[in-house]
Symmetry: C2
Subunit: 496 residues, 2 copies
């Protein structure tokens, strides 16, 4: 999930100055409001070394009344802390009503460290995260506002920052051997951080990922996140007082600084016809062999295809299955639910279609309809699609716990390419059936879909069931990428 | 928890006949209502072998329209089921809207079997239960009504029933070697069932324990539970339709057939003064030695004392600590929260008082105030005390995960004995400070407290932090039981 985020966002100093000034004034007023309404606030800073936690905490507290907040720097446990249950040191640091506690690293620190150094197994890890989720839920039910920020930079950026710090005699001491080891093991940490976010991203204590390459951008996003969260909490508390809890959801404000994925995708990737033919033949042969190996080893495979209309799902699925033994796979097209399906939970029809061990199920459109079309068309409530991320993650985790390989493809094209393909379909008699008025109507909602897809990929790209965004403007490139991804995933599992 | 339940409840045939007739008519009407409102209903039967699941399911369905329900008997997995993720077979069996699915054993079956045969470790087990809780939560959010019944009989009763079945040629085949093995290992299973109930007893899918010694009583309790749950669900759905969700809680109906603990306690137990003196000396010496061993091995101990006013908490704590090294223990009296405590989560002050590894903390009144005095006096909302059971269980589990020994004592006396002691206190000048008007006021709420205490003990007596009900009418007996319990628990841990 983290590796998919566009980290190039930035502001000029000039742009950000005014924004920061305004947000600061808002924050200062909101702090007073939180005090008046007796709301305890916890703000957690986690993220990469050298991502700028210290500086950014410093900037966040500038506009605040210093009598109302406290900053805690969480390092290794003291003797006193070590001799008590893990969460003791954090329970004792929870804020009183109306106060703000800011954590430079937090209860997540130990889980991350233990995970990397002690190699916690999957079950232990899940339980550690459960304890944390329970801690946050407890406090949140008791009216605490919990804001969790993850400061994200790339491996390259981190390296650059460490080097810069080392170059100056005053800051040299700040870069330790440990820091360099972390930088070398960036990918391992990435994986662990993803898991952390995914397991603890709850409605009552959500994570916000802060693209921290540009300090100004990061500062604006942090201020905006805190301001937005406080406003919503205040509205919720006021509504509860006035006994109009229903009003809160509708009046909810959103921070304009969103985490995006699709924007950063390079759609110029392509292959020549010759390259394509050669690779296709090779990959199809491989996959056919791997398929029988899967069957022998009883490994189920679930491949989920989503993407823009005319994004090339059909073509990719065709190339994928052409050389497969039809007794070992099934393509499951997903249309609008029929009456029997509507009479059940939305996941019921997909549970019904779970492949047997050793079989491949290819879903042409999937359970993700819940957080795309159903969200946008209002076929389900906001509560329903919001909790669907967690429901879907949990379902996919159950599949992979059972031993399944789960891969999800988003076939990505740009708006111009879609128009070209739509027109081509209308003009080609044998393709006309592929295009309907609904396709044109969906196209008008492109921006809404883009927002939904960005959120979907960030929230449901997990270590066990990753999303693969396929650059689809060139069909040859797209088909080969799908096949290669599948072949690599199967080889990796089978060679283990 | 299960071992504390009073299993002697019964009805005569005559008493139960009219009750069953009336409940059956209600059930039949409610089934139609659920259909009209499109509510899917799942009724789960779990419990001991020979507890009467088959018979009782049969009786439950008598009043129902057979076109609206289906009974599933869950046995070992078929080949088809074995080749798919664990919950697949149950997802596919979820009822459509308006239908009732009854499960003779369920998704709990495999967890219990695996736990006993494959020795699942603590983490694996917790995750298995998490998957189940998530499954039930998913369905419940989608408007399913989930009713879970645990049919409970004693080891002796089970043995009697197996023998009776064996005695008749027609039913002999029904008792297998496995059944006898289960009966021999009753205590192990008891432990596993307790864990199951504790981990999966949620607000959206609560367990009801059915005392199944007497078939008539069990039938009435089952019918009453199903009828009550349906009524509440229907009220909730109607209120949501009318957009008055707030009204539901207030209008909630309760089944009159409660699970009780205190009623079954024998308060005639006593010791002579000589017995008492001898035992006391011996136990105090032991505990003093064990205390230094605890300190060396860095094991923290948490002893929680609750009980009726004048139940003898003070006297028991005094005898417990008399010979202990004061540097290694602390008695923490719990009064009404002060202003700083009120500004935090209700558990905050108890977290602050968690003992260091190697130390003993003795709480004179505890965090259980939430589900007793705060519940009864309305100092917290119904939502708050209801979720407190889970919050408290989770907290105590975190303590024991850290290695702590946690024991909770309920000092039990009857109403007459309390009156005698109150009067004695009033008449004895040096004891007068011990009795206040509040004590007399609390006494008037005896029945409410008894209900709250019964519920508290059933919901929070866990494998890791059990409640010990101390028969307290005789002070000598009570003090010795407390000391013996502590000594046994410490010895058990230290001899490991």
């Amino acid at each position: 999930m983290l590796d998919k985020i566009d980290l190039s966002k930035g502001f000029t100093k000039k742009e950000s100055k005014k924004l920061i000034e305004n947000l600061g004034m808002e924050l200062s007023a909101l702090q007073r409001e939180c005090k008046r309404l007796q709301i305890p606030v916890m703000i957690v800073f986690e993220g990469w070394g050298a991502a700028g936690k210290g500086t950014l905490i410093n900037r966040l507290i500038q506009p605040m009344d210093p009598r109302g907040f406290k900053v805690f720097t969480i390092q290794d446990e003291s003797e006193e802390e070590y001799m008590r249950p893990f969460l003791w040191r954090f329970w004792t640091k929870t804020p009183a009503k109306g106060r703000i506690h800011i954590f430079d690293r937090s209860w997540y620190r130990r889980v991350i460290n233990d995970r990397m150094e002690k190699n916690l197994d999957k079950d232990e890890l899940r339980n550690a995260y459960n304890e944390i989720v329970f801690f946050e839920e407890n406090l949140s039910l008791d009216n605490n506002l919990i804001i969790k920020l993850f400061l994200h930079i790339s491996q390259k950026e981190q390296k650059k920052r460490f080097k810069k710090l080392e170059a100056s005699p005053e800051t040299k001491w700040r870069v330790t051997e440990n820091d360099w080891r972390h930088n070398e093991r960036y990918d391992d940490y990435l994986h662990v951080y993803e898991e952390m976010i995914e397991k603890t991203d709850t409605e009552f204590a959500p994570w916000t990922i802060v693209e921290a390459t540009d300090r100004e951008y990061a500062e604006v996003k942090i201020l905006s996140t805190v301001v937005t969260a406080m406003k919503n909490k205040i509205a919720q508390v006021e509504a509860a007082k006035a006994e109009k809890p229903g009003e809160t959801l509708a009046g909810k404000v959103k921070s304009p600084y969103k985490t995006t994925v699709l924007e950063g995708i390079d759609l110029n990737k392509s292959l020549t016809k010759d390259e394509y033919k050669k690779k296709l033949k090779n990959l199809q042969e491989k996959i056919s062999k791997l398929h029988s190996e899967l069957y022998k080893q009883r490994i189920p495979v679930i491949l989920a295809f989503e993407g823009w209309d005319a994004g090339g799902k059909g073509g990719a699925i065709k190339r994928l299955t052409e050389k497969l033994d039809p007794r070992g796979y099934e393509v499951i097209p997903t249309a609008s639910p029929n009456d029997i399906e509507k009479a059940h939970h939305y996941l019921w029809r997909f549970w019904n279609a779970v492949p047997k061990a050793g079989h491949i199920a290819i879903f042409d459109r999937t359970w993700y309809g819940r957080v795309m079309v159903e969200r946008i068309e209002g076929f389900c409530t906001e509560d329903e699609w919001k909790r669907a991320y967690k429901e879907i993650n949990e379902m996919e985790e159950q599949f992979t716990n059972f031993g399944a390989i789960v891969i999800k493809f988003w076939l990505h094209i740009d708006k111009d390419e879609q128009e070209r393909r739509f027109k081509e379909r209308m003009e080609t008699p044998e393709k006309q059936w592929k295009i309907t008025d609904e396709d044109w109507r969906n196209r008008e909602k492109w921006d809404q879909y883009e927002e939904a897809v960005d959120e979907m990929i960030v929230r449901t790209s997990t270590s066990y069931a990753p999303w693969v965004v396929v650059e689809g403007n060139d069909k040859y490139y797209a088909r080969i990428k799908v096949l290669e991804t599948v072949v690599n995933a199967l080889e990796e599992r089978l060679n283990k």
